[in-house]
Symmetry: C2
Subunit: 326 residues, 2 copies
């Protein structure tokens, strides 16, 4: 068998991690022939609960799970890792503004960004903890590892978009392709139905209802998280975890020809975005494991206005945390 892949998960006793850890240990991300060494990070008060999670992981007798480390030190957790799921973040409390959330979480990602320097030479980091784009920016800025190793999660938004378009068109979800979600994982994100395809045809040809697409579809995707909380009485956990697994798979497996996935990565100026922002783009992964932004996609003036608004939002978030950036 291959050497174990070392995978860190932060916020490892939390609800999203609870759905990530067991699926990673079962081989659903890195393959049925790749052993996994899990390195689980939590804050000190949660170490006992984390011990319970580790007991349950042991109790699964996963053949691929060779080792578990439990720690409250990011340096220990990230030592020698190949991948990290950065899930842990302070939740948004009642009455908190987004800027408060950003400031509350920023320092965590300064320290974790530095700790990433302890990773293996191929270390890669993906951020789930919100505000994930700007948290990712902070971690990247405080780390010495290459910028293309960082990403933040737009995949839950992509999956939600695909599911909604499938439902509306009466087609299977696998028929919905080329789903880009631009910009920020926030309620200003822009899920791009103009460039999406359903059964190989442009989505607006299949769903010939511009007002549904521009209003209902976009708002439903943007506000889906709040709707899940209302129904379930708890925030999305298993679906967020599933998106995190899809996200990583889409960065380590070649993208099917002609399709793309939505991943927030460090902008190199594509589509006029400020260089260095962590921006949700359509991404293709090549057979050699490298990835690139799909360029040249057209946008209507209506779409461009949405795009510009979310770009502006990310600039403002960067401004809020500029004292944390190197």
């Amino acid at each position: 068998m291959a050497n174990p892949i070392r995978v860190a998960v932060t916020g490892a006793a939390g609800q999203i991690a609870y759905s990530i850890l067991f699926r990673v240990a079962s081989g659903q991300v890195f393959g049925q022939d790749r052993p996994v060494h899990l390195k689980m990070l939590e804050i000190t008060p949660a170490m006992k609960a984390l011990q319970g999670v580790a007991m349950e992981l042991s109790d699964c007798a996963f053949p691929l799970l060779t080792k578990m480390d439990l720690t409250d030190s990011a340096e220990e957790a990230f030592d020698g890792i190949n991948w990290v799921f950065m899930v842990g973040a302070k939740p948004r409390g009642p009455g908190m503004e987004r800027a408060d959330l950003i400031l509350g979480n920023g320092p965590i990602f300064v320290g974790q960004g530095r700790a990433l320097n302890r990773g293996a030479s191929d270390v890669r980091a993906m951020v789930v903890g919100n505000p994930c784009n700007t948290n990712c920016l902070i971690a990247m800025s405080n780390s010495d590892i290459p910028k293309d190793r960082f990403s933040a999660m737009m995949r839950l938004d992509q999956n939600r978009s695909q599911s909604l378009l499938a439902d509306k068109s009466g087609q299977p979800v696998s028929a919905v392709t080329n789903m880009a979600v631009w910009g920020n994982h926030s309620n200003n994100q822009y899920p791009d139905f103009e460039n999406a395809k359903i059964g190989g045809k442009p989505a607006p040809q299949v769903i010939n209802d511009q007002s549904w697409l521009q209003e209902t579809f976009v708002k439903t995707v943007q506000n889906r998280g709040a709707e899940v909380i209302k129904a379930r009485g708890a925030s999305s956990a298993a679906s967020a975890a599933n998106a995190a697994l899809d996200h990583v798979k889409s960065l380590i497996q070649p993208t099917p020809a002609g399709d793309w996935n939505s991943v927030a990565v460090c902008s190199d100026g594509q589509y006029g975005v400020d260089k260095g922002l962590i921006f949700g783009y359509p991404i293709q992964t090549k057979a050699d494991g490298s990835y690139g932004v799909v360029e040249g996609l057209p946008m209507s003036p209506w779409a461009k206005a949405k795009f510009d608004a979310v770009h502006e939002e990310l600039r403002k978030e960067r401004e809020v945390v500029k004292h944390l950036l190197k």
Copy 2:
């Protein structure tokens, strides 16, 4: 693609189901080429939370998940199903005796047993909800479908046993085979280290410490659930769900030659057990999909006393619910 397999899950808004549903929809049980139609049953007050779970399942854009039905009627949930995970059961409250738990849950399984007559011609039922052996007995007794279609879950106990023996011996968990857990999923279960193997050798030869095996090992397995609750602050969910998936896979996939898995099935008198009890046995599944109890395993007098005690416990549970049996 093949026709969807119709899979019902009861207690579908609960914590164990939350870990089962997403893994089933991702193809981890019935295969990557088998679409899944989920039929989710809950009690009426939990229907809104169940709606939230269904939203999250949609939000995963699982290509194999073709349809979801949400209902508070067992007749509707079980209509045309091929498999059911019977997870839902009343939890044990503070100060409740096991007999109270059994009586509280019994009527649920009378109704669900009858509703199973609505299943497909190949319908199979597995019970997770505790007390799972006796709940399974009640469902089987109130249903007209063949007795060999019913099983109750010993797999969490098997997995825990394998993990403990691996840990103690310093061997990988995949080296631990032939792990039978006899009798009842209760703290009188008997995890049979005498017939277990580690790296192909009898476990007591590899772990040459009879008092650890007879005392520490057996008690640790029996009381593991309570220890997880103490650490995690919540009962085992992901590991129970994982065991449920392993359980079903072990009944639909051939067992590796020479090995077995622990499944509670309707006794035909093997090892002197009362006919008709749902008893944890070592089971082998053949290539044609049928299964059989592994017979003729030796037991020391010490082991036989454990076996007899758990047999007696199941007889008593049957006595408690005899008014619910047909």
